[in-house]
């Protein structure tokens, strides 16, 4: 029996490589065609076209900045005036991260294999988290504004519910990888479920959970600014009011931009730093 000729192997390999390249190329062509067609469609349903609008992109920012530069003397006062709104936005983000995080802890522990209090119900809690994650914050926020009136509370409830679903999934993925031996040890000395989880699991998962929660805080800060713009409460609402006024209040717009920008960058930096310390120990 002769071994297959090297030529044969090489041909087969080249054939395979050619076919792969063909499929890859085809996929790429289809993808590019879809992007192009989608873009044409989106453009046709847009009020203004892409080419017409492109030179205008910088027109609005420069108009705003020019006016703000003329009234630059107002800026420190405006910054101080809008600072309480920024604090409210930060509070919305922090409270909803906290509340959502606490809910997520409960949901994660209840839906993790090996830890669940009621193992039969894990599927139910998982579906619950999926549903919480799937509802965009704006839906809940707008409906709650109708009932509760404006203010930060609808935003807090909406963001916390979403956070509970999103963090719950990440938390339970972490908890799934936790070492179960401490839990068994605690169970063998007669610890209850709460003690097993509190002493056996939480110390293991705390760094990762905290790191995910910090990341969520960054996301929630942006979400609370957007919800303020669409609904009410916080710096987003101030921004909307200033924008609706239009020319004449662009110094306010710039002051709010600045506050928001500084807050987002600062929080991102801080949480980046804290997370790298948490994960590296």
């Amino acid at each position: 029996m002769a071994a297959p000729a090297p030529d044969h192997i090489r041909d087969a390999y080249l054939e395979l490589a050619r076919r792969r390249r063909l499929y890859g190329g085809l996929l790429l062509v289809i993808f590019v065609a879809m992007m192009a067609a989608g873009f044409r469609l989106a453009e046709s349903r847009n009020a203004g076209g892409f080419v017409d609008g492109l030179p205008m992109v910088l027109a609005f920012p420069s108009e705003v900045l020019a006016e703000a530069w003329q009234k630059r003397a107002n800026l420190p006062g405006l910054l101080a005036k809008h600072l309480p709104s920024l604090v409210e936005t930060l509070n919305i983000a922090a409270v909803s991260t906290l509340l959502g995080g606490l809910m997520a802890m409960g949901l994660a522990l209840l839906s993790t294999r090996g830890l669940a209090r009621w193992p039969r119900l894990t599927g139910l809690f998982r579906r619950l988290m999926d549903a919480l994650r799937a509802v965009p914050e704006i839906v809940i926020a707008l409906v709650l504004i109708y009932i509760l009136g404006g203010g930060p509370v609808p935003a807090v409830i909406a963001i916390s519910l979403h956070t509970a679903g999103a963090l719950g999934k990440l938390f339970s993925e972490v908890a799934e990888n936790a070492d179960l031996k401490p839990v068994e040890g605690l169970a063998s000395v007669g610890a209850g479920w709460g003690q097993q989880v509190g002493l056996g699991v939480l110390p293991q998962v705390a760094p990762n959970w905290l790191s995910y929660a910090l990341m969520r805080f960054e996301i929630n800060l942006r979400a609370s600014a957007i919800l303020g713009f669409v609904g009410s409460g916080g710096i987003g609402y101030d921004l909307k009011l200033a924008m609706q006024w239009g020319t004449g209040r662009y110094d306010q717009v710039v002051a709010i931009f600045l506050l928001l920008f500084v807050a987002i960058v600062a929080i991102d930096r801080l949480s980046d730093h804290a997370r790298s310390r948490l994960v590296r120990g």
Binding site: M35, G48, L148, G151, F229
Partner: protein, 441 residues
């Protein structure tokens, strides 16, 4: 023995102080959280919330979510009867095809509200027979209303000289000089499939199935099944066609934005990675640009772009594209810095140039990481596109905010919410499937 004797007190001390610190933290952290929440409760004025909350709005909203009301109105001057769902013109029944619970005979209209409640309109006025209470009789005379009902009047009857209104568990009834109106509440979303001008509205499900398969053509130009699809698609009450278009627009925004950002960010990510780009200044500049884009945030980009391009899905897509370019640029360059250099060296040893090294040494390594990040963003952008649509005026976000602002089309709001959740879940499972196929396969 001497060593342990000298060491162990120090060791116990360390252990004990650490334990004490831990115990303190175990109390201090929850306390700090509680204190912060208490501060937030005061700052958010939770106490005042109870006063501001409109529980009647909540009741309206919840009942509208799952039931509809039919207005039965008689104009007292002309005597004309109008039966309309939610009182809307497009939900008005043709006068020869009234629902079965309304019977007309000459001037007399008999409305059966169910559970024994019967309202009768006739030439003299109107009567409402409430079981367990008695007959409420209203007659119009001398330019005023005369009410006869068992005394004392309960608080669910509100009577004055010019207006009598009655609210019971079966419906609502109101009589004024100009008109008499009865609302009947029924569960379900009215006219969801076919509106009243469609012949299919008057058929039961088996009849519809039969008519679709072998029934005579309702519209001579179209087979019945196509006519049904047309009537459903152009349903004036629910506007299924427009709603599905809006959903598609939202998904389109997320798709174009996410993948557009990935395409833009890939070369930029190469240029910002330490091991790919020798020019430090360019690298530094790009990183600061990414930071700036991320820091300015999608909200502000959306506003700026909406000014330039006007409302619509393209503006939303561009806003997502711009915001995500910052995030992707940062993530891609970090992923590129973390690659295994050995493979690149192997390719280099065969005499490959920079582009070939990138194509065969780097891309295969980073593709799974980048792709899973992009798909993860696609999921979250599908949700985000709803919000962005509300700001730029495109997609389902626009329809949703419009329906909420009217403050009465809550059944539409419920419908959109269900569709949004289904859309997000579908995108989640689609991107999960794609990730498994592309990365493991």
């Amino acid at each position: 023995m001497t060593t342990t004797a000298t060491l162990s007190p120090a060791l116990t001390d360390t252990v004990l102080t650490r334990f004490a610190r831990r115990r303190l933290a175990a109390f201090a952290v929850p306390l700090a959280i509680l204190a912060y929440l208490a501060y937030a409760a005061i700052a958010f004025d939770i106490a005042g919330l109870a006063g501001r909350a409109r529980m009647d709005n909540a009741a309206v909203l919840l009942s509208d979510f799952w039931q509809h009301k039919t207005h039965v109105t008689r104009d007292n001057r002309t005597g004309a009867l109008r039966v309309a769902i939610d009182g809307e013109a497009k939900g008005t029944y043709p006068s020869d095809r009234l629902p079965g619970w309304i019977a007309t005979q000459g001037d007399t209209t008999r409305i059966d509200l169910g559970r024994g409640h019967v309202v009768t309109y006739d030439a003299e006025g109107a009567r409402y027979d409430v079981p367990g209470y008695g007959l409420i009789d209203i007659r119009q005379q001398d330019g005023g209303l005369r009410l006869t009902a068992p005394e004392p009047l309960p608080d669910w009857i509100n009577a004055s000289d010019s207006r009598v209104s009655v609210t019971t568990e079966a419906g609502r009834f109101a009589y004024t000089r100009s008109k008499v109106e009865t609302f009947r509440y029924q569960p379900g979303w009215a006219l969801f499939f076919f509106t009243l001008d469609s012949p299919f509205h008057y058929m039961s499900w088996p009849e519809i199935a039969a008519s679709a398969l072998w029934g005579p053509r309702v519209d001579p130009d179209l087979p019945n099944i196509a006519a049904m699809a047309r009537d459903f698609w152009t349903n004036a009450m629910w506007r299924h066609g427009d709603v599905l278009w809006a959903l598609f627009e939202t998904v389109l925004m997320a798709f174009l934005g996410t993948f557009g950002a990935a395409l833009v960010a890939l070369p930029l990510g190469f240029m910002a990675a330490r091991n790919m780009m020798p020019l430090g200044a360019l690298r530094f500049g790009l990183r600061r640009i990414f930071d700036f884009i991320r820091g300015v945030d999608g909200l502000i980009w959306t506003i700026v772009l909406a000014r330039a391009f006007g409302p619509g899905p393209m503006t939303g897509a561009l806003a997502i594209l711009l915001t995500d370019t910052g995030s992707f640029g940062k993530m891609f360059s970090e992923a590129l810095e973390n690659i295994d250099e050995k493979q690149v060296e192997g390719i280099r040893s065969t005499g490959a140039g920079a582009v070939q090294r990138a194509r065969f040494g780097v891309i295969p390594q980073v593709t799974p990481v980048l792709l899973s990040q992009v798909l993860y963003f696609l999921e979250s952008n599908t949700r985000g596109a709803t919000v962005i649509g509300a700001i730029v005026g495109g997609g389902i976000g626009l329809l949703l905010t419009q329906a909420i602002q009217t403050q009465k089309d809550w059944e539409d709001v419920a419908y959109y919410m269900v569709l949004i959740v289904l859309m997000v879940m579908a995108m989640d499972s689609f991107s999960g499937w794609l990730r498994r196929r592309l990365i493991r396969g």
